[in-house]
């Protein structure tokens, strides 16, 4: 345990003093603040003279403003944080020949990779917490609404989901840093993975759904089952993208009026009825219930990813040359 903490401490020092981390953090902070400011002022104008909706505060994070909402931004660029924190964690030590030194110290070999993952995890947590708190503070000043306990809880869950989402990408990048000796290769491989899973899976899902269960307009009218099947296939496939998982989970948790993660097409008649007739927000427990599978999947793929890199690292021969 001592070994893990020592390594974690050193990695944290490295992270927080590295130029790339400061650049990235500044960039994300600036974009977040600008977005929050635009959304906040927009909200303030819209709410002028209107009865206040129940969950105004959460709108700071979910409403798109002029460009994109904050959660969309984190969904797109959050992975970059994970990638940048992890892509050279093992192979940098290898190329600097410090790895053979580390493993010849009286610490368990897995302390090295555990400590590095833990340090990345802590960094991500600090970063996201800082951003969410800053935006909340800014929001407090801009719209002058104090978040209720439920909103705070929802934000906390959102934070947790986001931490795991970014940690998943940290896990992927550490995995590639174990597998590839060269830092350039590992960063390219990670970014390729990111682009593939974040952008192409969604496209591919529609294409595959078209191929498996083709729908033409005339058939759809007479046979709605077909349309539903097509949509189901598309949805299942698109869930392979962590970004879809993340976006669905966070929009549901931050918007109490959303009662399902599914698209309108797949809703049952009761769900559709409830959306149009009952404009009541879901209680927190129900929202959590809806996104629970998403949450579990995100945690699972993060752990899986870390487990693979753990095994790969433990099985690697350490040679100084």
């Amino acid at each position: 345990m001592k070994g893990i903490l020592t390594i974690c401490r050193k990695e944290l020092e490295d992270h927080f003093s590295s130029t790339r981390f400061i650049l990235l953090f500044t960039l994300i902070l600036m974009v977040s603040l600008v977005t929050a400011f635009m959304v906040g002022t927009g909200l303030r104008d819209e709410l002028q003279g209107v009865a206040k909706p129940t969950f105004v505060f959460l709108m700071l994070f979910t409403s798109p403003g002029k460009l994109f909402s904050l959660i969309q931004f984190i969904a797109f660029f959050g992975p970059l944080i994970g990638i940048i924190l992890g892509f050279d964690s093992i192979n940098r030590e290898r190329s600097a020949r410090t790895l053979s030194k580390l493993v010849s110290q009286p610490i368990y070999r897995d302390s090295i990779i555990n400590g590095k993952f833990l340090a990345g995890f802590v960094t991500i947590t600090i970063m996201l917490l800082a951003i969410v708190l800053l935006i909340s503070g800014l929001g407090l000043r801009l719209i002058g609404v104090v978040p209720g306990p439920e909103e705070v809880w929802r934000l906390a869950i959102y934070l947790l989901i986001s931490i795991f989402y970014i940690s998943f990408w940290l896990g992927i990048s550490i995995l590639f840093s174990v597998i590839f000796r060269s830092m350039a290769t590992s960063v390219l491989a990670t970014i390729a993975c990111w682009i593939f899973f974040s952008f192409f899976v969604a496209l591919g899902a529609s294409l595959l759904a078209d191929a498996i269960s083709p729908v033409d307009q005339s058939a759809a009218v007479s046979n709605p089952e077909l349309l539903i099947q097509h949509e189901k296939i598309r949805r299942v496939l698109s869930l392979f993208s962590p970004m879809t998982l993340y976006s669905e989970a966070t929009t549901t948790i931050l918007d109490p009026l959303r009662k399902t993660t599914q698209s309108l097409l797949l809703m049952g008649p009761m769900e559709r009825l409830s959306i149009t007739r009952f404009q009541n927000p879901l209680p927190l427990s129900e929202s959590v219930y809806i996104v629970f599978p998403h949450l579990i999947s995100l945690v699972a793929i993060t752990l899986l990813c870390f487990a693979i890199s753990y095994i790969a690292f433990m099985r690697q021969e350490v040679r100084s040359t």
Partner: protein, 252 residues
């Protein structure tokens, strides 16, 4: 040197695929000895070191270092053994003290103890002059000396040095060898080192082992080996002649 045995191997073997890197190695090294491990590149010297440290698992055979089996109790072995890898690496953006402090923390030494110790060790290896200088700006010799300081940080009973004089200028190499000699003489540390500088190995080692293609072809005091191979008496041989004789036999 008749102290207790600190390093012992029995039929230690490592096979990589088809290739036998170390072939049934039997070795016994008493405490306080300076043991020179010779052999051409790729003879299996580093592999042997890695197995003795528990960083690589032997295919068969056993080893003991200070009474511990490195395969089963690697942590206990690593606690008492200092290892200087060939081409030792440091964190280039930290200075010498920070580098050493990190290693001492990994060894579980409290900071206030290690700070004093680091200062002392930097004096020993003659690096105390520029404490703020980043290790990235160090010359090869300075890095190698810092490596020695790092190895000594944990008060080892045994040190493994893999090519400690590689790439050093003659003066630097001499300093390094004197340092190695003083470890055995003053602190009773067992030194197990590999090197290609035969004349210098001759100067400082009590015994040498010659490894060729994974086989330990000779082990013993240099004068005994010389007597056996060259049939000459004291002072009229060099280790180089002995080594080349074994090397040619090993090749054929």
């Amino acid at each position: 040197m008749n102290g207790k045995t600190v390093i012992e191997t029995q039929e230690l073997t490592k096979v990589y695929g088809e290739q036998v890197a170390v072939n049934h190695l039997n070795l016994r090294i008493p405490q306080g000895e300076v043991f020179g491990f010779l052999g051409p590149n790729g003879a299996g010297k580093t592999t042997t070191l890695l197995m003795l440290l528990g960083l690589s698992e032997p295919s068969s055979g056993r080893a003991w270092v200070c009474g511990f089996d490195p395969t089963r109790e690697p942590l206990k072995v690593k606690r008492v053994v200092g290892y200087l890898p060939e081409n030792v690496g440091f964190y280039d953006d930290m200075n010498a003290v920070q580098n050493l402090l990190y290693v001492s923390r990994l060894n579980g030494i409290p900071d206030d103890v290690s700070r004093e110790k680091i200062e002392e060790l930097l004096k020993v290896v003659d690096l105390q002059a520029e404490p703020k200088k980043k290790v990235g700006d160090y010359s090869r010799g300075m890095k190698q000396r810092l490596g020695i300081a790092e190895v000594l940080l944990k008060d080892p009973q045994v040190v493994f040095l893999d090519e400690p004089t590689l790439g050093l200028d003659p003066d630097g190499a001499n300093q390094m060898l004197q340092l190695i000699q003083s470890l055995s003489r003053d602190k009773k540390i067992t030194v197990f080192f590999s090197s290609h500088l035969l004349s210098q190995v001759q100067k400082i080692s009590h015994r040498v082992g010659i490894m060729i293609k994974g086989n330990l072809v000779a082990v013993g005091r240099i004068e005994d080996l010389a007597k056996e191979k060259l049939g000459v008496g004291q002072e009229s041989y060099t280790l180089e002649e002995v080594y080349m004789k074994y090397f040619k036999e090993g090749q054929s």
